[in-house]
């Protein structure tokens, strides 16, 4: 058997066999597959009744923006050190073996498809949102995923090619930057003209999305237009745009293989960088700032506080040094802008802020882990500081509490203004969101305390997610029941009950996780293969 085919088959087989030895991982996969299957079945039954309120052109817009983000990342990676399509074991074992470098490149590209699929995995869970929003079924979700995977695949090869062509050549890097802007410039100009012409943002965006300029914009336009064309039954256009993606990918591969058979040096930096990132993670450095190439200017120095409060002041110093907005970085800006855009779409209906609240609460389940407080658990200093565990945890998480409070004030304040929601509803949304974040912190510590952190990170996240659902359920039921009993002020009472439950549950979680620093192992992020 060809050595590369052997590697692919054996790796796939061993991955499956590994599941037999790790029942927790197997259960996780079974649940994920069951979840996708469940969503598929649900979509079969709900499809007829789901009358989407939004035009498919907005789906094209969302997909376009999502892929645009990957385009920017791919170009940035290409200009920095390329994309990692190989692992260090490939470099150490395959690159030095007497196997054709072109065949090895093909092997890398086949494996890359797995990365593209995993990157788009979250799309599979969007069936319900797409069904409610656009009145489409699970087949549409698969088409969106296909478009996304094709685009990500092409972008990974493009990134590799950009690196190969521009490495150590500032002039060429400038050309790539100019070309990248030029590719999107017509669309940008067209959008500007539309805004000036219509005088309103939404109609202008709609006109832009309907124009051929969007469809023919490289990669992002092709993928979004291809997926939406196929969903709306225009198979000719669909195949044309998806065909363009496949063709461009094939041409890029062909170019690399024919022009540069000695591409090993070009992929080495990216592979080593990715390997180093994994190694640093496995050694306990989970802070993404550690591997960021961003230049940081040290202006103000010093740490305030005394005893456990020094942890909070340290977090302030780190956050303000990492970005000018301090606790509120780029993610906060994106959150505010995204919520404002969402509010523009939802303007006009009653209680639409509750949909925003629901979406942000789902996001917060996973975003809460980005706080510095929970990251401290992976570094030994927190455990060794000779102060009370409770105080250390409180001071360690004060930063995220401040961050969330201010974020929710701004997000719901702006959303409330745009959607013209009553002040009491906005205030309650702020309370529910902030207290929910407080509860999530409590559940994080409780999950650690209960499991002792002696399990894989994936399983820990799974247990945490289940715990969030279980703990929130009584509050949600009570809020729904009590809210529906009163006419007129039902929503007010319902949200109030939910906020109160979140507070009580959070206090309960923190109380039950008492002594978590002594009763759990210092967690280690296992980065897998």
């Amino acid at each position: 058997m060809n050595s590369l085919v052997f590697l692919l088959v054996k790796s796939a087989k061993n991955t499956l066999l590994e599941l037999r030895r790790k029942p927790a991982k197997l259960a996780l996969w079974v649940l994920v597959i069951a979840g996708i299957g469940g969503i598929f079945l649900l979509s079969l039954f709900t499809r007829q009744s789901a009358a989407g309120s939004l035009d498919l052109v907005w789906l094209k817009g969302i997909l376009f923006l999502l892929i645009l983000l990957f385009v920017v990342l791919a170009i940035q990676k290409g200009l920095a050190n390329g994309d990692a399509i190989f692992d260090m074991n490939d470099v150490n074992l395959l690159f030095v073996s007497p196997v054709s470098s072109r065949l090895i490149l093909m092997y890398g590209i086949v494996r890359m498809a797995k990365t593209a699929f995993l990157a788009g995995f979250f799309i599979l869970f969007q069936s319900n949102s797409l069904s409610t929003g656009f009145g489409v079924g699970f087949d549409a979700v698969l088409l969106v995923l296909l478009g996304f995977m094709l685009a990500v695949g092409v972008l990974q090869i493009l990134s590799l090619l950009i690196y190969s062509l521009t490495n150590g050549k500032p002039g060429r890097k400038l050309v790539v930057r100019i070309l990248a802007v030029a590719a999107f410039l017509p669309l940008l100009v067209y959008t500007g003209v539309q805004i000036a012409g219509t005088g309103a943002l939404l109609p202008a965006l709609e006109n832009t999305l309907r124009s051929p300029l969007t469809d023919w914009t490289p990669v992002a336009g092709w993928a979004s237009a291809g997926a939406v064309s196929l969903i709306s039954g225009d198979t000719g256009s669909g195949f044309l745009f998806f065909g363009l993606l496949v063709l461009s990918g094939a041409l890029l591969v062909l170019y690399i293989a024919l022009s540069n058979p000695d591409y090993y040096e070009d992929v080495l930096v990216a592979t080593e960088t990715a390997f180093e990132r994994k190694r640093v993670l496995a050694e306990g450095q989970i802070n993404p700032e550690a591997s960021s190439a961003k230049k940081v200017k040290v202006v103000k120095t010093g740490i305030g506080g005394l005893g456990p409060s020094a942890i909070f002041y340290k977090h302030l110093r780190e956050s303000f040094r990492a970005n000018r907005l301090g606790l509120w970085g780029v993610s906060s800006v994106i959150l505010v802008l995204g919520a404002a855009l969402f509010s523009l779409f939802q303007r006009g209906g009653d209680g639409r802020i509750l949909i925003l609240l629901q979406i942000l609460m789902w996001m917060q389940i996973f975003m809460i882990g980005t706080g510095r407080g929970l990251k401290e658990l992976y570094i030994h200093y927190l455990y060794l500081i000779p102060e009370s565990s409770f105080q250390k945890i409180v001071w360690s998480n004060l930063e995220i509490v401040f961050k969330v409070l201010v974020e929710s004030l701004v997000v719901f304040g702006i959303a409330g203004l745009i959607m013209e929601e009553p002040l009491w509803l906005v205030a309650e949304a702020i309370a529910v969101y902030t207290l929910f974040s407080f509860l999530l912190l409590g559940i994080n510590y409780l999950s650690l305390r209960w499991t002792g952190a002696d399990i894989s990170a994936g399983l820990l996240v799974f247990i945490y997610t289940i715990a969030v659902i279980v703990i929130m359920l009584p509050g949600l039921i009570a809020a729904t029941v009590l809210g529906s009993m009163v006419e007129g002020t039902g929503v007010l009472i319902g949200l109030g009950v939910l906020a109160l439950w979140e507070l009580l549950a959070a206090v309960g979680c923190f109380a039950l996780s008492k002594g978590v620093l002594h009763n759990s192992d210092m967690p280690v992020l296992r980065t897998g293969k």
Binding site: A290, T301, L306, R317, S319, P386
Partner: protein
Amino acid sequence: MIDVRNMTKKYGKLAANDNINLSVGRGELAVLLGPNGAGKSTLIKSVCGLLRFQGAITIDGHENHTVEAKRLLGYVPEFPVLYPMLTVAEHLEFIAKAYRLEAWEEKGEALLRRFELDDKKMKLGKELSKGMQQKVSVCCALLPQPKAVIMDEPLVGLDPHGIRELKAVIAKLRDSGCALLVSTHMIESVEEDWDVTYIMVKGRIARVCRRTDLAAGQSLEDVYFTITEGKGQEDKP
């Protein structure tokens, strides 16, 4: 000073540490030796209170999770993990503030000078090489002037100057009455100063060897290979 009694640490069915007994007195340098996977790092992390375990671990009579025990303890981990957005000087300042140290500045300066970090004070954690990070990690551990110091492979990644200085620091700490527990693969690096060696194999202490136990002409390396190559016999501490 450091006392480990009937300590067992299990990961599922695997006993990473199996009924360990170990003690390190004041002014004593105890060395942990053993092949990869013997359980040295697990034992060290358990002593520092970073892992749960069965049994008892005390530092100067205080249970190792207590504030009193932590005040006496200094730990240099196997992998130096610094805060990427703090400068070298701020790492020391953070430790000083968190441990409520007084008049720490001079001591901090001396440590930085000793490890040739005095010109790197304004460098961020993420800008340092692994060796430099290891040096900062050592400085952070020693700044509170602990009475019990635990080091996990402290010499890995250090340059020759760093190795020489750390060996000197270890000797000085021992002479000043500090209890030291050091895990290492570099047997020759501790050959001069060790007092007692615990050789671990498969999660158990296979041999406790005091310097006075060595026969004439016998080195620590000889003892180590005798045990790890299966010719030794178990010896309870």
